[in-house]
Amino acid sequence: MTRDDWYRHDRLPHIYCSGCGNGSIINCVLEAVSDIGWNIDETVFISGIGCSSRAPGYIQTDSLHTTHGRAIAFATGVKLANPDLHIVIFTGDGDLGAIGGNHFIHACRRNIDLTVICINNYIYGMTGGQGSPLTPYGKKSTTTPYGACEMPFDLCNLAVAAGANYVSRWTSYHVTELTKAVTAGLLTEGFSFIEVISQCPTSYGRRNSLREVSDQILYLKNNAVLHQRWKRMQEKGEDLSSDQFVVGEFIRQSRPSMGVSR
């Protein structure tokens, strides 16, 4: 099966805004599942609420579009009821980092065998661009009109600290690296977390001096600092600029996990 066979063609075209990063990310995820050779009838996509959570609606497999923040809790039930199923969750910075934060840390702690793709567009896109716990300090949203005054979460650090077996971060620009990371996450037993920073031209970019879609993609390209380079910078006592963020693989380990079919 190729990537395109995974799409629910009668649901296309999608309702994402033109220039949205979500489409590229779904492509990468479907590329990864088809590369691995999983079948449609043994894979389930689960999501919460938000633009990212629309994704399972465009995919042929069984899916659950659940309540806001609860995708991981629903997925835990599905996985424990039938550990033979492969479970992939689409979520976003608001869905996972805010309202669903508790489920996230406990799924990491249990290290349950799920793969979570968190599309981080820095705001609540679907409801019109309100600030989320991932809105970078000083960046604008409809509820932080002069810039966010709270510090954002680092979801990858959180996942590592809480015990996930696989954690990486890429962006919608890094499609090759992202596809590899998703593949690695899918193949890792236990909890896998892949954060993807993505452009949201409608609700984030235009409020933050990134007027064109390409401006936002270049921003992601230019400000991504590889994990290894960041380590070297730290050794030299250097710091990241306020726009820079770290990408790469943060952990790949084999702590005992839950929900793995034996």
């Binding site: 609420i49 579009h65 309540t67 806001h68 923040g69 608001g94 980092g97 805010a98 309202i99 934060g101 609540y124 679907m126 409801t127 019109g128 309100q130 600030g131 716990p133 409809t142 509820t143 932080t144 009109p145 002069y146 709270e150």
Partner: protein, 386 residues
């Protein structure tokens, strides 16, 4: 002065004039424009409030409860799933007798997911101990906020309240609205002076265990306070008329009912459509009228009985579904109980769920069904989908 504005912005303007000390809210369609506008006002220094961007609706109402217990006037807004996520806190706010005011842009409840309007969300929380008022238009929504703080903070009441209005239909449409000035609002609604509040110099606790020896009396007091809120609302409504000219002295509104032999009963924006339908049907010689219920909690049973006395046929337009109940609609049950006359036919019609449009022709259709004796049923189902 009349200004053309979006319903949500009329809410935000009214809330600003009520000068809440703390606002906490979480984004959910179709409520979001209200709190976005309030966030702007706070950021621009027009409104001296703490605005908290919380991480869920549960946190929003919890933060409001805490702030209210500490003696502040507080505000939040939500819809649908957000309100249901708050359900646990809603009962706590009422139980701790905190006069929180919250706007509800009414929206259907999932699953399946729907962002469109009906009134299932707030009606599902009818027993939480919050008063619930339903607005017909942007002016009512806006005015209800001044009244709500006044009634909620009344020492004989001390209960929280929902101001309910139909999502999108009222929240996202533009209408002329009279927004009063600060001076006149402050004259009507003085600053909040709580009778009880958390105070480190005189410690107290709220929400602790009430053993079986005490619990029932707490619940009794809440119910009594809800009854009191009807009296407080009538008083505040008449006072409101003296200040602003618009009369909210009654918990119901009668439209062409005095000589009617058929009455519609409804809550919210659909009352506007029904009034137009009533006018048209009157031209055709049908003696129909409308009873609009402004306050669903407290439920004005006596007034409803009086307003509908002598009318043999009553049709409730219900934007909610009480699954498993014989009448199917939550409002109809109570209207029937209020009339308490087996000689009167009272029918519920479940209509317009999940945002399906309700037009004048549907109101006529309901009339025709009622005349045929078909009631306590859904109206407008797409049979081809069943």
């Amino acid at each position: 002065m009349l200004q053309i504005m979006e319903g949500s912005h009329a809410v935000a303007e009214a809330v600003k004039l009520c000068r809440p000390d703390v606002i906490a809210a979480y984004p959910i369609t179709p409520q979001t424009h209200i709190v976005e506008r309030l966030a702007d006002m706070v950021a621009d220094g027009e409104l001296d409030s703490e605005y908290i961007c919380v991480e869920s609706e549960f946190s929003a109402l919890s933060a409001c409860l805490g702030a209210s217990a500490a003696g502040s006037r507080v505000y939040s807004a939500t819809s649908s799933q957000g309100l249901l996520l708050m359900a646990e806190v809603c009962f706590n706010v009422a139980g701790m007798r905190q006069p929180v005011v919250m706007s509800i842009a009414n929206r259907a409840v999932g699953a399946p997911l729907s962002i469109w309007n009906d009134q299932q969300d707030s009606i599902s929380l009818r027993d939480a101990g919050w008063f619930q008022w339903y607005a017909e238009d942007a002016q009512e929504i806006s005015d209800f906020h001044f009244l709500a703080y006044k009634v909620a903070e009344d020492n004989n009441v001390l209960l929280p309240g929902f101001i309910c209005f139909d999502g999108f239909i009222l929240s996202h449409t533009y209408e002329p609205v009279d927004i009063p000035d600060q001076e006149s609002v402050s004259a009507f609604l003085p600053p909040y002076h709580p009778v009880i509040q958390l105070d480190a110099t005189d410690p107290m606790t709220m929400g602790m265990y009430a053993t079986p020896d005490y619990y029932m009396e707490f619940r009794y007091e809440i119910d009594k306070a809800m009854t009191q809120s009807a009296i407080a609302l009538r008083k505040a409504g008449s006072e409101f008329k003296e200040h602003f000219g618009r009369d909210y002295g009654e918990l119901i509104e009668e439209y062409r009912l005095s000589d009617a032999d058929f009455a519609f009963v409804a809550l919210g924006s659909v009352c506007g459509t029904i009034k137009d339908a009533v006018d048209e049907m009157r031209k055709d010689g049908k003696k129909v009228g409308l009873l609009k219920i402004r306050s669903y909690r407290p439920f004005p049973a006596e007034e409803i009985k009086k307003a509908l006395s002598g009318i043999p046929l009553v049709a409730i337009i219900e934007k909610n579904l009480s699954i498993g109940s014989r009448m199917k609609g939550a409002v109809g049950l109570e209207v029937k109980d209020a009339i308490n006359d087996s000689g009167v036919c009272v029918y519920s019609y479940i209509i317009g769920l999940g945002g399906r449009d309700i037009r004048k022709l549907h109101i006529r259709g309901v009339y025709e069904e009622a005349m045929k004796g078909n009631g306590d049923t859904f109206y407008g189902l797409r049979e081809e989908l069943l």
